[in-house]
Symmetry: C2
Amino acid sequence: MFTLTHTDGAARRGHLTTAHGIIQTPAFMPVGTQGAVKALTAQHLEDVGAEIILGNTYHLYLRPGDELIARRGGLHRFIGWSRPILTDSGGYQVFSLSDRRKVEEQGVHFRSHHDGSPHLLTPEKAVEIQANLGSDIAMVLDECPALPSTVQIIDTSLQLTARWAQRCRNRFLELKTGGQMQFGIVQGGTFPELRQKSSELTVSIGFEGYAIGGLSVGEPNDTMYQVVEQTVPYLPADQPRYLMGVGTPIDLVEAVARGIDMFDCVMPTRNARNGQLFTSEGPLNIKNAQFAEDDGPVDRACGCYTCRHFSRAYLRHLLMAGEMTGGTLNTLHNLSFYLDTMRRIREAIAFGRFEDFRQGFLQTFARRALIS
Amino acid sequence: MFTLTHTDGAARRGHLTTAHGIIQTPAFMPVGTQGAVKALTAQHLEDVGAEIILGNTYHLYLRPGDELIARRGGLHRFIGWSRPILTDSGGYQVFSLSDRRKVEEQGVHFRSHHDGSPHLLTPEKAVEIQANLGSDIAMVLDECPALPSTVQIIDTSLQLTARWAQRCRNRFLELKTGGQMQFGIVQGGTFPELRQKSSELTVSIGFEGYAIGGLSVGEPNDTMYQVVEQTVPYLPADQPRYLMGVGTPIDLVEAVARGIDMFDCVMPTRNARNGQLFTSEGPLNIKNAQFAEDDGPVDRACGCYTCRHFSRAYLRHLLMAGEMTGGTLNTLHNLSFYLDTMRRIREAIAFGRFEDFRQGFLQTFARRALIS
């Protein structure tokens, strides 16, 4: 159940009640692709205040297998995480296997990136896998066409996505998976009229929440913000809105300003392992020689474990030396920054001062980019 | 200062007071080669109860450099670890560069494994680097001849080691590094008379503790135990005895039984990352297919974070999937097992029941090896 507690312009604060607890929104979901957020333990995730994580159906289906996970009592129990989990449908990963998949009405044929073995992912199968995983929020299988593309191609694709969504919903209702919610996904590329059409088709089926998919795939930021702004009015105001695979800290703020409630992105975790750290003054790359003798923390405004105990000089050393500990400490910091940004967003909305927060955030976060 | 509180046969329990706190002995030192125990944060080390860690002079000298670390306030401050640190002399790593080093009276010439740059490690330089690192316990530079070798070669080598030890001590006394202790190293291969000779030469110089070096390099276990047994009587009873680079859990118990107080080894950390986990019933390899659906903990007798929260099935999945989190959880367990074994050893000595403990440990630890 989704409850809105505050609105401030288009921005909303609320909470989503799931079978494994409450998620405060707007929420950011760290990505735990293969049953672990890379370089972290469950304890770390609790320490940084993650309320929900995302699991990737494609990866877990192939290894260790959704049925094995079901026999272990489901994904929560298998990975030792008792809070909410959202699983994607596997579609996005399958569509990334550009030369190894073939889309038909029935579903998508693909070959495993592990061993080349053939698989067929149908809408029903995507629902069944996620039922085996036992996630709190399951996503429908959608087709993710590459951008840019023509109106005709995107239109054809979103209609397939809508037919798949209906099949997903039918199977979901048949399975009656206790406590699981199911979200629909709106496609439509960058065409407002197609986003409207996809929204109407998806909302008419009826889900517990709605995601905007197919963005953050290379289009300009402003285009993405515009599509979000044009799509949100067609989504139910009393249900959660999830912008998939987004984004940078500024993207989060800009999308909240347009009415988005949920996000996931590999950026904080992946970039951490490569040395890109987010700070209140903008991103920095800890590998840069300028940090070799810098005794300060990554971000003086940050209270995370990494910033409380370790210097930029040490983090740079760990990364240059290839020490896994560096990946862990950097990931802890980046996720702390993302989750703290979400806390600040929620607070600003509750105070009715989100626009002030947004302007201040854009100015301070962009500072480093201007300096360096 | 070293204080013995209990003896039980040749086994001893006590504590070593350093500038950064007290180490209970017999002690095991996790290896933090490049300023981090691989896959762990300092918090993990505190959680598993590590009282002292080892840093590798060779690696830290080359990267990020001992002078850079000195400018950061020393190794403790640089790596965010406030408890004791022992540093080796760098000799062992340099002697492992078999085709890139040349030994002379003055010291050892070698080329960096990073960039091939030429370096000269003299006894004085080894002392100076460790003074820059600011470790609590510094080791002398010794020559580590490959085994097996002839009496003549080992004899010549231990005499060089003794001359180097004197030069190390001279430089150490000149530098008057506040609070740092310096340990001598006994060599002599597997020849009892040479171990005696090296012990007498080293002890006559006078150090705060003595290490037995040059073992666990491929000789049979029984030979190692025998050398320890034959060497210990020539070391001062009122000073700590450190068996370098050893070893398996059984090695620890057997060496304590012969009067050893301190150990270091990469085995628990390196093997963890490869999936070899130590349990009260012996080692197991978590990659084995038999664990794919095993919902039990690694070791029912273990109370570590990993065993409290995660199943063998999950740990196997993480390792098969190449997730860093698996390395972290496995390392936490193996170090917990090692440090818990040391606690049990100390307790048994205090109770005057070390021989009972030893027999029981050998029987239960070897059980799995017999089964599988």
